[in-house]
Structure formats: C-alpha cells, structure tokens
C-alpha cells in the first residue's frame, strides 16, 4: 500500500510539474504543426545545443541496386513510415557530454546512496574514467569548443540520453536506424543528400581524404536540406539497432512499415548499427544508405578484464546525435531506449563497485 501511495504522489508531482512548465526556448509542442527549432540548455547552462523538427512522413530506406559502391546489406529497399521528432542539428559535443562524465567523481566520493525501490527506474549509471591512452589522443584531436564527443560505447550514449532526459524533463534518446536514414536523406533519393558525386563531400562532410585524420568542430560545413550538419562523416553516429545484415529482407514487399516495428532491438553487445560514416572512412561509407557497425576490436587496447562497458579504446570515429520524439513513450517503454539490454551488460553495470556510481538524477 505504502509503495503505491508513494509512487502515486511522485506521479502527481511530476504531472503537476510538467503542466506548470513553460519553456522559454520554444521547444514544447503537442502537435506536429507546433514543432519549432529550439535551443536546449544543458544542466550547466553555459552550454546549449540546437534541436530541429523533422516532419513525419514516409520514405524508401536502403539503396537501389544500381547505386555505386553499395553494400548488399542496404537492400532490398523498404517503405518506412516515420513519426515526427526533433533531431540534434549537430552531433553531441564534448562540451555537452563532458557535463555527464564529470558527474562520476563527486558521485564516487559521496559513496553509494540508497535508491528507494520505486525509484530504481529513475537512476542513472555514470561512466567510469576512460583509459588514459585514449584521453590523450582525443585531447589532441580536440576537446573543448565544439568538437564531437567520440569513443563512447552505445551504452554510455544511451545512459547520457537518460541523464539528459532526467535533467531537462524532456525525453531524449538515440535515433533508430530508420529515423537516422530518413533524417539524413531529408527527402532525397541520391547516394548523398547533396547528390551522387563524392567529389562534393569536401563541402558537406569530413572523410579520410579531407579530415587530416581527425574529427572537426561540428557544424563547419554545409547542412543537408533539413538543416542537419555532419550527417555525412565527421563522427559516425550510434543508432539503437542491432546490426542485422539481412534485416530489410524481412520487411520487403509488405507495404509501408512503421519505424517502431522495424527496430532490431539488440540482444548481443556486438555488432550494433553506426551510421553516417566518419573522418576515418572513405566516401562510400558516408552515403545516406551505408550501414556500418560496432566491433569487438574497438576495445582492443583495453588491457583489463572485464573491459570497460563505457569506453572504447580505439573508436575515435564514433559519436552520436540526439532524437526527441513528439509522442513521448510510456515510462516502461522509455527504459528500453536507455538501459542495458544484454545480461552481461546489465551485470557489469550493476556489479557491486558500480552501484556507487548509480545515482538518482534530480532536475
């Protein structure tokens, strides 16, 4: 009885809080036509980032067989229906992501804090410090001042979206693979959102040839038709899906599939979908339909076992971008977008020492 009562009070309080809230940034909407670009302040308000509306609609996912340097995993093409969402105009930067990483030390110093059972779902696990060899390489590539965050695991990126959601009261998550490609294409059907000629990449995306072997500050080149920067190249971007090479074949010829039904929810730590290609890759991997994925080797230099669940040691080319759907899923459903999905990851995240760094996040 007591538990029910407490959760009811919490639920009430949250509802009242939301209803009373008015956002100065213009980021609130209850219908698609009300959606506007807005600027989201980070918890440390000296940093903010921009979100832009992506209209709902349908598109053809994957590439036609005639597309040059296409991979077999990009077909058969399928029709997908997408619900409206906002998307990060740029990739998440270190300036943003470091605010999350900086939570670790104070939490660790404070020691394990009791989390009431009914609030377990609100707790966030904080990434431990990364391997120092990687820190210094990332620092040399660029850290403060607009460089994209990189080298985190998908789990770390997902916990970041949870932390940010708890802090801002808005539901943020990683994009699904279908949403990602839809946003990247921005209505186009060509190999890239600017056409078919990779020679034009120098104006739109950082790849192996023009990057000088490192990522660059976000938003320096031209955006795609929907105003999204660096969808091609710079850092590749985490999606929510397991990478399944023949995934599209299961949906081919079935008419328009809802994006939600298309998600390949992961059951294994590897491989997971990474989209957009990066500074580390050749132009063909930066195409709108190109699919790449995580690999065990991304942690190859981690000398300890178990290897970190938060950081890679060798994936200086992977980062992520935020999505905020207009329709907010139920609290239970939200967990699926944030929390570890394999037994191994769950166990490693919640083993005894790490409980000290699982904390309740207050707005």
């Amino acid at each position: 009885m007591l538990v029910m009562k407490t959760s009811w009070i919490v639920a009430m309080a949250m509802w009242v809080g939301c209803a009373a809230m008015t956002w100065a940034d213009g980021g609130d909407a209850s219908a698609p036509e009300q959606m506007k670009p807005y600027e989201q302040k980070m918890p440390d308000a000296s940093v903010s980032f921009r979100m832009t509306p992506i209209p709902g609609g349908s598109y053809t996912m994957g590439s036609p067989e005639a597309e040059e340097k296409r991979g077999d995993d990009e077909g058969p093409q399928i029709e997908v229906k997408i619900e409206p969402f906002w998307m990060g105009v740029c990739e998440v930067t270190w300036d943003e992501y470091d605010q999350f990483l900086e939570q670790y030390s104070p939490a660790k110093d404070a020691g394990a804090q009791p989390i009431p059972p009914e609030r377990q779902v609100d707790a966030v696990s904080l990434p431990t410090p990364p391997y120092e060899l990687a820190i210094s390489i990332l620092q040399e590539m660029g850290r403060k001042g607009g460089y994209p965050a990189a080298d985190m695991t998908q789990l770390a990126a997902k916990q970041y979206t949870k932390w940010l959601s708890k802090k801002t009261g808005r539901f943020y998550r990683l994009p699904t693979e279908a949403e990602w490609e839809y946003a990247c294409r921005a209505g186009t059907t060509t190999a890239y959102s600017f056409g078919d000629d990779p020679a034009q990449l120098k104006d739109y995306g950082w790849d192996w040839d023009n990057s000088g072997e490192k990522y660059h500050k976000v938003g320096q080149l031209k955006p795609n038709p929907w105003g999204l920067y660096d969808m091609h190249g710079n850092v590749a971007e985490w999606c929510l899906d397991q990478y399944v090479p023949d995934h599209y074949a299961k949906f081919a010829g079935k008419g328009a599939v809802a994006e939600k039904d298309l998600i390949a929810w992961p059951t294994e730590e590897y491989p997971r979908v990474v989209r957009g290609g990066s500074w580390y890759q050749d132009p063909d991997k930066l195409r709108s339909a190109a699919r790449t994925h995580s690999e065990k080797d991304w942690k190859v230099q981690d000398p300890q076992r178990p290897k970190s669940i938060w950081h890679h040691t060798d994936a200086f080319w992977v980062g992520f971008r935020l999505v905020r759907p207009l329709t907010v899923p139920s609290p239970e459903e939200q967990q699926k977008y944030w929390e570890p999905d394999t037994e191994d990851l769950k166990q490693l995240m919640l083993r005894k020492g790490d409980k000290e760094i699982r904390v309740l996040i207050e707005k």
């Binding site: 120092e132 820190i135 192996w208 000398p303 076992r305 178990p306």
Partner: protein
C-alpha cells in the same frame, strides 16, 4: 576499411612474428630444461598469479593464443573474492577462445593468501603469469625460475634496487635453464613502435639528443579499508599507494614511456635529478606516493630525457614519447617522423593489439624453442623508473651506479610476510603514512 586506414584495424593472426626471437643453442636447451620447450602438440598448463584486472586480461590473451593446446590450470591471489571474480570473467569470455584453449581451475587449484603463489607454481604447471603488485615480483619470479617454469611477468619487475638485482640474478638463472621470459612492456610488441624505433635507430632524424616521455593522467582506483583488516591486509588491497608494493606511479605506470626512451637509446641513463610531490592527493587513503614527478635523465652520450608523470584530475593529459634529433623530430607514440628535410613519414601498417601479440610471441617461443628472455631490459627499464623516483624523493642529483647498487630495501623480509606481519610502513596516530620529503629523505 581500405588499405590506407590508420593502425588498429587488427589482423593479429597474420602478424609476422618479430625477428628478435632466434633459435636457441639446441644442445644447451636439450640438456637443461625439458619442460621449458613444448612440442606443438603438448599441452601447456598455466597458473595465473595475481587475479586483478590486468592479470585477468593477461590470462585472456594467453587463452586467445593459437599455437597449440593450452590450459588455465591454477589461480592464486591474496584475496578469495578477487580470484572468484576473475574466474567468472575468464569463463564469461570462454566462447571467444579457440578450441585448443581450456579453462580448468577446480576449487583445489584456487590458492589464496600471500604464499599462494608457491602452491600455484608447484601444482603441475608449465608456465606462470605473474601479475601481483610489483613489490612481490622478485621473489615470485625467482621461485618460478627455481622451479623451472616459463614466465610472463607484468611490468614493473621490482620496486627497489635490491629487488632489481634479485630479479636480474633470476633472469640469468632462467637463461641457463632455457626458460622463456616475457615482460609486459607491450610496446616492444607493437608494430608501430617497432617500425618507428627502427627508423630512428637507422638515423631518420640524425643523432637523438633530446627525448620527452609523459604519462600525465588522472590517477587510478582507491580501495577503502574494510572492517577487521590487519594493516598488512589493507596495504595489500590498496597497494597502489604504498611504495614498497607499487614503486610509485612513476614506476608502476610511467615505466612504459621511460622504457621506450631506453629502447631507442639502447641503454639506461647515467645521471638523474628531478622533483615531485603530493599537491592534490594528500588524504590518508592515498598512502605515501606522490601525485607528480618530473625528472631530467642524462645518458652517457650527453643526450637528455625529460620525463613527466602526473596523477591529478582535470589537468592536461598525455601518454606519449617524443624524440628530437639533429635532423628532425619524431612523435614516437604517434609513429610520425618529421625530418627537417625530406618527407614526413607515418606508420601505415597493420598494428595488431600488442597485449595479444606479446602472448602470441611468448607461446611461439615456447613451442619453437626460440631464445626468448625479455627480463634484462624489463629490469633495466624498471630500474630507470625507480632511479627517477629516487631523484624526486631525495631532490639530489644521483649517479646510476649509486642508484643501482643502493642497499635500501623497501620491504625487508618480504619472503616471509603474513597477514599478521607488521607492514613495512605504518600510519601515524591520525592514520597518515610517512611521505617522502625532498632534501631530507634517504631514497637510495
């Protein structure tokens, strides 16, 4: 990824074995140690001694080698829970090991306590992996040699000069017995380093007159005291902060970078002076080690190495080595050579995981009876790092011979330590440990 991809896209199975290993004098090998050399079909049984994160990592790499049948046969640690955690982690990775690898560590071959290493060495294994805190290395290494085992030993190999001399004596003994010895200075097995050092030694930037080595980072874990622990149990658990076990972070961690400079020079420095202290990490749980050191080493040819290491959060970070020559500059860790005249060179080859390659190479040496003993350079690089610590602790200019021949033992009687032995350093009434004071500390 295309062929112009930078390093790290591994294809370690195809990695060509290093040329440093050569076929040993066969008669010597045959007459002295039969167990040291295994035919390709013989099973090699291994004991893991020291079941922390690195030990667990090392044994995972051992189990990932494909040179012939191998078995993890025994495990030893000071603490039972750490041993069990480690075994769980090893078993969790089991589906990734080749078919020739077995994990077979029943209860009766899990040894716990400060003397557990002897039981593990004596339970019928062919090789041992030594990954306990470095202060214990000389006695454990010596015992493994005495019992005729092949050895993979993590760095550093000691924490004081008497420990170094003891280790070196055992290395000589291991050579006589044709035992194979690998040391965990994995940069020696990293293709980008091997190629870069070779080019520098071949004169790519002329005479090397100045080098810089860094491990500036945020520091490592702290393990709190548990109720009912003896002082010895607490120190062994929280070993990083006690010099007699860790050597200080200049020895435990920064050795990697110092070692690269020695490797390039082919020798050790002959003079050292420097400074260090404890500016931020002053609480009692940090024991007695410094949080920063900066040392100027001088080599016999007059060249200099500046070595800098720091364990302080939110500062500049670098883990790297650099060489400045009469004809150019090299970022050794980045594998980039920039001659004053001529074209810039960058390592472009396959760069397999060196933590794996060092185990592949050791197994290869055992199977093919190659001359393989990394103990000497492991000891000399460890000694160089200890030498740096002696300089920062004392504030004196120290000559190599005085450092190397120092009689100062940080843990007298360590062979007989038990949980009830008085630890070699003791806290004061407020729980603080003695911290070295430049100018007055006798450090060598």
């Amino acid at each position: 990824m295309s062929d112009k991809s930078p390093p790290r896209q591994s294809s370690r199975r195809s990695f060509i074995k290093q040329s440093t290993a050569t076929v040993a004098g066969a008669s010597l090998a045959a007459s002295i140690a039969s167990r040291a050399h295994a035919a390709s079909t013989d099973e090699i049984k291994c004991a893991l001694i020291g079941c922390g994160g690195r030990g667990t990592g090392a044994v995972t790499q051992f189990l990932s080698t494909t040179n012939g049948p191998i078995r993890l046969y025994a495990m030893a640690d000071a603490y039972k829970d750490r041993l069990e955690d480690s075994l769980n982690n090893i078993q969790r990775g089991a589906k990734g090991y080749p078919e020739t690898s077995k994990v077979d560590v029943p209860e009766e071959r899990r040894f716990v306590g400060l003397d557990a290493y002897k039981k593990a060495i004596d339970c019928g294994v062919d090789m041992v992996i030594l990954t306990t805190p470095p202060g214990f290395r000389p006695l454990q290494f010596e015992y493994a040699v005495k019992q005729g085992k092949n050895i993979f030993s993590e760095k550093p190999v000691a924490t004081d000069a008497p420990g170094i001399r003891r280790f070196l004596a055992a290395v000589q003994e291991a050579k006589k017995k044709n035992l194979k010895v690998g040391i965990g200075l994995q940069r020696h097995h990293q293709a980008s380093y091997i190629e870069t050092i070779k080019r520098l030694q071949d004169g790519a930037i002329g005479d090397i007159n100045f080098m810089r080595a860094y491990w500036d980072g945020g520091g490592v874990w702290v393990r709190p005291r548990q109720p009912g622990m003896t002082e010895m149990q607490y120190q062994v658990l929280n070993w990083y902060y006690f010099t007699w076990m860790c050597g200080d972070h200049i020895v435990e961690q920064h050795i990697h970078n110092i070692d690269v400079c020695n490797w390039l020079k082919g020798t050790h420095p002959i003079a050292a002076q420097g400074q260090g202290g404890r500016q931020v990490r002053t609480a009692k749980e940090y024991g007695q080690i410094f949080d920063h050191h900066s040392i100027e080493f001088t080599y016999a040819d007059g060249s200099t190495m500046i070595s800098q290491c720091r364990h302080i959060k939110d500062c500049y970070n670098s883990v790297s080595e650099h060489a400045h020559g009469s004809k150019g500059y090299c970022n050794i860790s980045g594998a980039v050579i920039e001659p004053k005249e001529g074209e810039k060179w960058r390592f472009r080859g396959s760069n397999p995981n060196p933590y794996q390659v060092e185990h592949d190479d050791l197994q290869n040496a055992i199977r093919n009876n190659l001359d393989y003993n990394e103990g000497e350079y492991g000891a000399m690089s460890t000694m160089t790092a200890i030498y740096g610590r002696m300089a920062s602790y004392s504030g004196k200019l120290i000559r190599w011979d005085d450092a190397f021949n120092s009689k100062l033992s940080l843990a007298p009687g360590i062979d007989d330590y038990t949980w009830d032995t008085a630890a070699p350093v003791q806290p004061d009434a407020d729980g603080f440990y003695p911290v070295p004071m430049p100018g007055s500390t006798q450090s060598y």
